[in-house]
Symmetry: C2
Subunit: 118 residues, 2 copies
Amino acid sequence: MAADVLDATFAALADPTRRAILARLMEGEATVTELAAPFAMSQPGISKHLRVLERAGLISRGRDAQRRPRRLEAGPLKDAMDWLANYRSYWEESYQRLDDLLGELESGGPNAVERESP
Amino acid sequence: MAADVLDATFAALADPTRRAILARLMEGEATVTELAAPFAMSQPGISKHLRVLERAGLISRGRDAQRRPRRLEAGPLKDAMDWLANYRSYWEESYQRLDDLLGELESGGPNAVERESP
């Protein structure tokens, strides 16, 4: 996958309003007016966020030329998740090491600590 | 999870050099000099990227005070992946619809197209 596609996806996701717009669109298509409603933001402000999402390929425009509803395009989200999934083994190992250490502490192993008596 | 934590994580990931640094650190701790080696970039340039990663909690400094090796911290990557996983059902449905349509075209269903004869 081209680096600049991932750049655009992650940059687009680095904003709470844009993430909220994507969450709304997961429920179905919505017009700009509908998307702007939950936010204390001008329509031009929302339109600017929509342009960022559109350039990143995260949303597209529906067929209705008058309403121009926006639709979620999940492909770039899947690509971003595939990139992050490379790190899964790393964090699973980290949690496993923590689990092992905690187990050792509880079973009185070499790293065990004295429990305080009541 | 606080929105600004996700903001910082996604913003930090929106750069190919920073993603390459994280990929290198998955193999183990590395000093700034070691991290700078593969890039045609000054050490101050790399240090700037490392500060962004450190502020986002994606890297930390190892115990050796002289070498100050950097270490990958995978927690924020897991949180980002958890956020993206919310959209998994959406893209799986999209692929399923595409699969169904392709199956229909091949089996000569209502949306079937004539295959061109050789």
